[in-house]
């Protein structure tokens, strides 16, 4: 057990080192979300606090969704087939998918927090319950990373993987996105936290289902 955990750790370290060595990809993602936020800001041409909370919230999550799809899509495309084959000989597929999901979760966390800070900076920050909003960002990062990593693995096997990634991932993340929108809207309005418990539990359950399924299904995926 401890050895397999150490292997997962090593694989994760490899992901981080790889990302750090080709920093243009990471910088690209950071610039992508900042740019998207800025485009929205200019398009709405709104002074601070002029958007209604619903529009504010929905816009932010849509930016986050597109960023997530772009960020996670490259987790399998980036690596050459030969190198993937090498990983598969030294580690079990479950370890590989777990390390990729963990890495993507961290990446999504960084991206969503940075996105949130920039977004709140230019568009004004109407959030009344910041703690709960951060929790929804956290749950969203885990859920997006878990569901999109497997989809990225599927799409990477096909020829037109960019289109397929979008087509496959929109319906898959939608239930998650709808629940997240609701929780973050509650946080935005500063409603009592007990009102959001149901949604948070449901999101956590969906996250768990998706995580377990990714672990179960990925071994079949890489064999082809």
């Amino acid at each position: 057990m401890s050895q397999s955990l150490r292997q997962v750790g090593a694989l994760m370290r490899k992901e981080f080192v790889l990302e750090w060595r080709q920093r243009y990809a990471l910088n690209g993602m950071l610039l992508y979300i900042v740019g998207a936020v800025f485009v929205c800001y200019l398009s709405f041409n709104a002074r601070k606090g002029q958007l209604t909370p619903i529009v504010w919230n929905t816009l932010f999550w849509i930016i986050l969704l597109f960023t997530a799809i772009n960020a996670v899509a490259k987790s399998f495309v980036q690596e050459r087939a030969g190198r993937l084959l090498y990983y598969y000989t030294v580690a079990s597929p479950v370890q590989i998918i777990v390390s990729k999901i963990l890495y993507n979760t961290v990446l999504m966390l960084v991206l969503s927090l940075l996105g949130f800070v920039t977004y709140a900076f230019v568009m004004g920050n109407p959030v009344q319950d910041l703690g709960l909003y951060i929790v929804s960002l956290l749950l969203g990062s885990v859920g997006f990373a878990a569901s999109l990593t497997l989809i990225a693995g599927i799409a990477a096997k096909a020829e037109n993987s960019a289109t397929l990634m979008a087509v496959l991932s929109f319906p898959v993340v939608l239930p998650l996105l709808l629940l997240l929108l609701r929780v973050s809207k509650n946080a935005l309005d500063g409603l009592d936290r007990s009102l959001s418990v149901d949604e948070i539990v449901t999101i956590a359950a969906i996250d768990a289902i998706v995580l377990v399924l990714s672990g179960l299904l990925f071994p079949f995926l890489w064999r082809s």
């Binding site: 989809i151 496959l168 239930p175 998706v210 299904l217 995926l221 064999r223």
Partner: protein, 219 residues
């Protein structure tokens, strides 16, 4: 004959449901009036669709475990039939909604969830189309099919229940037990579910046989 009794049963049940559904007694309810008879057709189609999708997911799992291409044929055709049932369920629902709710596609969480669910499975069809190698296609689409079913279930059963919906049994109500169905309607409805599911299995069986023949011809 022994193997085909269930096809006869399907035909009998569907005839029974059509006749009993159209002339049987129903409670007089405001707004619904006679349109409540659609319960015998619209709802069993959705129940049938979910059962067919579950079967498809099970066969996908069996394909992954055994690698037998026949399981893949079965899983695809169950998904296709389920999509057909989904389209029919949408159409019967639209007709019904037009008379009771005033428009064919009201902005209702259950309708939207189902639309997303259909997108989910249409994406499955597209995914299958983008592979040339048969084994690869079978394995990867089986993985996606199981994943899609796991997303489909919360989409249909959890998300609509969290908000108010025009459909009965939603908006916090745990189940559809408080449906305004009288006790005479209930047995016909449940028999209808069995009948439509059997019909779906029959359609699937024919298509699977077609696929098997095609596969044999190609070899």
């Amino acid at each position: 004959m022994k193997k085909h009794w269930w096809k006869a049963l399907a035909v009998l049940i569907i005839f029974f449901v059509i006749v009993a559904g159209l002339i049987g007694p129903t409670p007089r309810l405001p707004i619904l009036n006679e349109s409540i008879r659609n319960v015998y057709f619209h709802v069993p189609l959705w129940f049938g669709m979910i059962i067919l999708l579950l079967t498809a997911a099970i066969f996908s799992g069996r394909y992954l475990r055994t690698g037998n291409p026949d399981h893949d044929h079965v899983a695809v055709e169950f998904t296709n039939t389920a999509l057909l049932f989904g389209v029919l369920g949408c159409l019967t629902g639209s007709v019904w909604a037009n008379f009771t709710w005033g428009e064919p596609w009201p902005n209702d969480p259950k309708l939207n969830s189902v639309a997303v669910g259909m997108l989910l499975y249409l994406a499955y069809v597209i995914l299958r189309g983008s592979f040339d190698d048969e084994q690869r296609r079978a394995r990867i689409s089986a993985v996606y099919n199981i994943f899609a079913f796991a997303v489909f279930v919360p989409l249909i059963f959890i998300v609509p229940r969290l908000t108010d919906s025009l459909h009965p049994g939603n908006g916090g109500n745990p189940a559809f037990g408080q449906y305004n169905m009288s006790s005479q309607m209930r047995p016909i409805f449940y028999i209808g579910v069995i009948g439509f599911t059997l019909l779906g299995v029959w359609i699937t069986e024919l298509r699977v046989r077609m696929r098997r023949i095609q596969a044999a011809l190609e070899e």
